[in-house]
Subunit: 288 residues, 2 copies
Amino acid sequence: MNIAIIGCGDVGRCYAAALSQAGHQITGVCDSNPGRGLEAYANEIGALLHSSSGPWLAQVDLVISAVFGGVALDVARQSLPDMRKGAIYADFTTGNPGDLRASGELAAAAGVKYADVAITGAIGLGGARTPLLCAGDAADELIEIMRAVGAPSRKVGAAAGDAVALKLLRSVFTKGLEALAVECLMAAEQRGLRQELYEVLSDIDQSPIRSFMETVVTTHVRHAGRRLKEVQEARAQLRQDGIQPLALDGVMALFERTSGSIAADPLLEEPTIQNSLDWLFEQQKNNS
Amino acid sequence: MNIAIIGCGDVGRCYAAALSQAGHQITGVCDSNPGRGLEAYANEIGALLHSSSGPWLAQVDLVISAVFGGVALDVARQSLPDMRKGAIYADFTTGNPGDLRASGELAAAAGVKYADVAITGAIGLGGARTPLLCAGDAADELIEIMRAVGAPSRKVGAAAGDAVALKLLRSVFTKGLEALAVECLMAAEQRGLRQELYEVLSDIDQSPIRSFMETVVTTHVRHAGRRLKEVQEARAQLRQDGIQPLALDGVMALFERTSGSIAADPLLEEPTIQNSLDWLFEQQKNNS
């Protein structure tokens, strides 16, 4: 396959190398601000170096955009008209989901197949083996290509933009867990209870994350008030031990909000995940 | 065993009933503000009703304190002198760890065995089968008694107060997860991606919570800056979708703080869980 890489930072170079090693031809690399290093790199992989998109894109079967997210849509808008119909434009940027959806629509209008690709990990650590999420009409084809270079790739969502949207939703949870782990392990270490905390938390391992999340949300809408007291006590203990909680302050604010909503307008039915979420949306509307 | 219950709210009554059914004799119940209902209840279980501690406590082998946490230490101070040496004082309150440790020391001075007991769940849902954490020199004996009435009970920590301290540390994590689940599932539902989010998060099920926590903390001290950008993007997406994040704001504040610390005073060694926590403590000291 003839491939062009637009944007030659860490991401662009990582996939250029992996695809090249897998037998694909990197025919062109493009960077708006190419330095000496990039020139040498292009030579090394037998690619022509460009500083902008142009008719040279007509020769390629796959364009990989790895520019900064902020210019994802601009780059797509400039590049798509030069591509041949039926080729694939794969957007590896962390552009916002709206821009990527718009890019997908431009691609469709230009007869180009499109995939938005979210890299769910650090390229610097996992290289081309970092897991990918793909959405858009070229998702299946792109997944086949990327799996062949060792990237665990999964199709998600219905439309272009869904992959990056899911990546960010995943981030809410995983980065939240990270922040909680920092505060929690600091506080446990301070009391000499870190090993015991692991044991006391190990029951979390017993239930899949999906049922855990649904259980806590359906009980949150009933018991946020009582649980708020526990959060307040936990926060008091951390502060007393000299830990300055930040993540926990956000957690407490959420419990306070739900607790107020329960007092003003309780959910009267038996909570299910669906009516719990509906109630939370309704409360948010009332509060805004 | 002859047992006294001090504080006859939901917790006191729950364990009075369970212990009574298991063949123990509840010889006395004590509440500073006993109502008609409590009088009937005491009759029903064959217990004498008291409005304060006193010499009647000398007859019992086990005192269960289930008063409000704020008066835990006062009640222990009043009750211990009346108890016989070698009896057990079990503190089921959610008093703060310092008060419970002080109670344990008073008990030791009075020749009474002491356990602090943390109820890690809702009595209203699980009744006497709610899991318990126990610390203090009477922990082993109390665990035997409580297991016999169906309560999964576990010894934790080294000193009185450690059980409730661990319960609150556990709360930091579990209530944090709850808040994150609320925001995350609302945001996913809003985009019609809830089912797919579960799948994208399911890799979390693959690693035990202990190694997950240690991994994110040891990478946090290196990568908080890059990850902060992802948190900011995730937050922007939520707000754009009409979700008002609160927990995520706290998470972002923590990433901002660590990110600033990394810029000013990076951890130069290869991060381990120990030097990562040490570095985090050091940074907190510098910032305070």
